[in-house]
Symmetry: C2
Subunit: 221 residues, 2 copies
């Protein structure tokens, strides 16, 4: 029944447009009552995103049952792969929907609220894990937004190519950029218990300048 409504809706949306199609048209084509439509979809927009509620629940569960030892950013990056998989499982449907949402402002707004719920799930998870750090909630919000933006960037370029390219590889690449940005570079800290780490840049200077800099750096604290 749900599937019949989705199929009828997309058939009409594609041939005459979203706003030119009324709910009555959809239920007439599907051969069901108007009231039944709103039993399955709380609004006309929901029929365009029939699987997001399930995907959001799945992703939330994935984040919820992550062990304490996991790297939180890594976990969120893995979670966003679940979302991408939902798109790539039905390439033609995803591409059709993309063309639709690109045209209709109302659908774009609805999609934003969906994306926002994913982002909120990321941020909530990171908030819990980064609670100890000084700017925990700030970092959580910013990293969540960056991960979502990387996902959207990879997804949209895949959708623009009509589902031809390798979306998963594009997402990995984009997430790599985000992770590189948000993992503090001067703290290897776990590969080997090093007592001292020295970073020297700009080597075209005489040795005495290096020593001078070291002395001032050591003297500051």
């Amino acid at each position: 029944m749900r599937d019949a409504l989705v199929a009828a809706a997309f058939q009409l949306f594609l041939e005459r447009g979203y706003e030119q199609t009324t709910v009555d048209d959809i239920v007439a084509l599907a051969g069901v009552g108007r009231r039944s439509f709103f039993r399955y979809f709380p609004s006309k927009e929901d029929v365009v995103f029939p699987d997001h509620e399930r995907c959001l629940a799945e992703m939330t569960a994935f984040l919820a049952d992550s062990g304490d030892e996991d790297e939180p950013v890594q976990r969120v990056c893995d979670a966003v792969r679940i979302v991408l998989r939902m798109y790539t499982e039905n390439p033609t449907f995803s591409v059709q929907r993309y063309r639709l949402t690109k045209k209709v402002p109302g659908l774009r707004a609805y999609e934003l609220s969906v994306v926002w719920r994913y982002e909120r799930a990321f941020a909530d998870h990171l908030r819990g894990r980064l609670a100890g750090r000084p700017d925990g909630t700030l970092q959580a919000d910013v990293i969540a937004a960056a991960v979502a933006a990387a996902h959207n960037n990879a997804l949209r370029s895949w959708l623009r190519s009509d589902g031809q390219g390798d979306a998963s590889a594009a997402l990995d690449h984009a997430l790599g950029y985000v992770q590189q940005a948000f993992t503090t570079p001067p703290a290897p800290a776990d590969e080997e218990p090093e007592d001292v780490v020295v970073v020297v840049s700009r080597r075209r200077a005489p040795l005495w300048r290096v020593v001078q800099e070291i002395e001032s750096a050591l003297a500051q604290e």
Copy 2:
């Protein structure tokens, strides 16, 4: 007239809630015709955000007339301060609206679409400036999202404090985190032609270890 409609709308929204207030109620209180409401505000939601259209135009203009020599990320950070200023100029109004949007899902969705347009303006500007780099659009999207998230984080904590704290300082702090994340660390390059920069971390080590590390660091290249 616009102001009268906004005032009447907020009076009713605050005393009986957004969804319990019809457009007819608003125009009755303001003493104008129903049709006039929709002349000034294309939808009922727009009356809640009466100044965003102007602010968006102002911000877009600010981004448009930026010289080529400016640091693009810095420019976007300056642009987002314009948005924050719009909020802090009317603290009580902003706080009232915040309480409203927090409760009403429809208003939250509308606010998301507004925020998205700001973010799009950031991303478009960065896309133009970062077009040369290999992952230009990806970096533009991610940085734009991070800047917007930092702004929202600072704004929301200010709104939660009923407009008491220093929003501007909070934003500066948040933007500092974003800039630190997205500016490649080993390239100061413009503050002063320094010949050598030394970073020493983990100082609880004997001096000979420090020297040893320096020697190996210098020997590597």
